[in-house]
């Protein structure tokens, strides 16, 4: 695909939380139709993304003061969940775009906010060039930014760049000599920027989460924001990044449970059950009951996480941000657990025929297993327990 630095259509501007949810349901129904085919053929959702951002859903967190709807994070999580239940690759692609919007809000100058929020409302998509696969850990960066009088130069190599291939503007994280992180907004057709479509993971196949190389990329100073400030001081930016992850996984669980019920209805009865139909199997019925309450429990905690973020945005301090991190961590654990459980139970309750290639039902499990690796749930139990037992507040970064 050719790199384009502007959208093909001017986006609709969504005005309210209720409108955002309604638009998400409408889009999800359309995205569901070919989700399996896109996964099977690894057909990148270029047209679908244009439709997605033109719908206005990529601009719903732009604050009212800048012309957006400034929806609650309860609504953001619900929207991402709804889209992900239909196609979790499409649900994941705006993940970093939404995260960047909050970093803009927290750290950009007034002029930069007006400029970039305006672009987003018109339908511009941000990708991301944040993570590096060769640095010491997820929070370490080797990509460098050097400031000159009127411009900055960025050099480095990135991976897991979800959305970059489809973006009009690629925000890249780079550190200065004091190891402080900045984000440079790089236009997609900047000659120093190459996006490599190298993602061949077995799940989330159509996210194009490949690599980006930054070779003497030059941007004006007006395109750089001091992103480190979003974590130097307590802000909700970490929980915001995380709730979108949890919403994607909750969506995968919801989609897998619906599929499970559809196929379990048609399953053959087990020989010992004495029943005429698979749907009469008392053990299958109880297994559906178990998935149902766990999905609803996860959705209820996801909503609590959204409320905790909204509270932290209203009054950001050490305590509100720590609380938001803890509740979002609960949502992360639960959503990872139920996404994996539901997508695996699907086969158990639908029977052996459900593994036939023609149904492609394994995409739910492949997507769940892949996306839940974003950051390990095992450390979320620790984060929650350490706050409870020892009063230790979670470390502030994009993974908490």
């Amino acid at each position: 695909m050719t790199a384009s630095a502007q959208p093909t259509h001017t986006a609709h501007v969504i005005r309210s939380d209720a409108e955002a949810i309604a638009v998400a349901h409408k889009l999800a129904a359309r995205f569901a139709v070919e989700a399996s085919v896109r996964d099977r053929e690894r057909r990148l959702p270029v047209a679908e993304l244009d439709e997605f951002s033109a719908s206005g859903l990529w601009g719903i967190t732009v604050p009212k003061a800048y012309g957006g709807a400034g929806v609650s994070y309860v609504t953001v999580a619900e929207v991402i969940k709804i889209i992900s239940a239909a196609d979790s690759s499409l649900g994941q692609i705006p993940q970093n775009h939404l995260g960047v919007l909050d970093i803009l809000l927290q750290t950009a100058s007034e002029e930069q906010k007006r400029y970039y929020f305006g672009k987003v409302l018109k339908g511009y998509r941000f990708g991301n060039a944040f993570s590096e696969s060769k640095s010491k850990n997820a929070g370490a960066f080797e990509t460098r930014i050097r400031f000159n009088d009127d411009s900055a130069q960025i050099d480095g190599e990135k991976f897991y760049c979800t959305g970059a291939l489809f973006a009009h503007i690629v925000p890249a994280v780079a550190v200065n000599e004091q190891n402080q992180a900045f984000i440079a907004f790089i236009e997609r057709d900047n000659p120093g920027l190459s996006v490599i479509d190298s993602w061949d993971g077995f799940g989330q196949r159509t996210t194009a989460s490949g690599g980006v190389t930054l070779n003497a990329v030059k941007v004006p100073l007006s395109a750089v924001i001091p992103a480190h400030k979003a974590f130097d001081e307590p802000t909700a930016d970490g929980p915001i990044s995380q709730i979108i992850q949890a919403a994607v996984d909750t969506g995968i669980a919801v989609g897998a449970l619906e599929e499970t019920k559809r196929y379990a209805r048609e399953a053959r009865p087990w020989i010992d059950s004495g029943q005429d139909h698979g749907w009469q199997d008392p053990f299958s019925i109880a297994a559906i009951g178990d998935l149902e309450w766990r999905v609803h429990g996860t959705e209820a905690i996801l909503k609590k996480a959204g409320q905790a973020i909204d509270a932290a945005l209203l009054d950001a301090n050490e305590d509100t941000v720590a609380h938001a991190s803890v509740v979002v961590a609960q949502a992360k654990v639960l959503s990872a657990e139920i996404a994996l459980l539901a997508s695996s139970k699907l086969f158990e309750l639908a029977g052996t025929r459900s593994v036939l290639g023609k149904y492609n039902l394994d995409r739910h499990w492949r997507n769940a297993r892949t996306h839940t690796l974003h950051d390990p749930a095992r450390w979320k139990y620790h984060l929650i327990g350490n706050y409870l037992l020892n009063g230790v507040k979670p470390a502030r970064h994009a993974w908490n």
Partner: protein, 158 residues
């Protein structure tokens, strides 16, 4: 009427969940207190306090998650009851709250035993069998079959 023909308790439909959740929270508090003040770290851990043990810490994370889910589903069921929605949907939401609070109590109880060496006696549950709540939910969501004789009184809740 016995345990098998009464899948959902009559009267005060959420009192069982509230009771379980309350007990789960009490057990968690008692276990936290014990680990902070009396527990010894495992000798091989090289730690000074049991409360620094990463496995103990993450165990508490698990207990709290199950308690928060139970609280959230209890709140959700209360909303169903108060909004006088469809009686079946309400009874399903109540059954889900029961399952979540029972799991929270069981998780808190196991953690208490594991971390303190003491065990609070759990009440039996044959009079109010969780296994049949799973069946009720599944049979409605999978097959559209309504719970038998809908014994839920939505007016008497909490």
């Amino acid at each position: 009427m016995n345990a098998l023909t009464q899948p959902i308790a009559t009267e005060q439909p959420l009192s069982k969940s509230q009771h379980d959740l309350h007990n789960a929270r009490s057990l968690l508090e008692a276990t936290l207190r014990f680990v902070r003040t009396q527990a010894q770290p495992w000798a091989g851990s090289g730690l000074t306090n049991a409360s620094e043990d990463p496995y103990v810490i993450s165990r508490f994370g698990d207990v709290q998650i199950r308690i928060e889910v139970a609280a959230a589903l209890l709140e959700r069921a209360e909303d169903f009851v108060n909004s006088h929605e469809d009686a079946t949907e309400t009874s399903i939401a109540i059954a889900e709250a029961h399952l979540a609070s029972a799991e929270a109590l069981s998780t808190a109880s196991n953690a208490e035993f594991e971390l303190t060496g003491q065990r609070t006696v759990l009440p039996g549950s044959l009079h109010d069998p969780l296994r049949w709540k799973l069946q009720v939910i599944g049979n409605f969501r999978l097959n559209g079959i309504h719970p038998p004789s809908s014994p839920i009184s939505t007016k008497e809740a909490v």
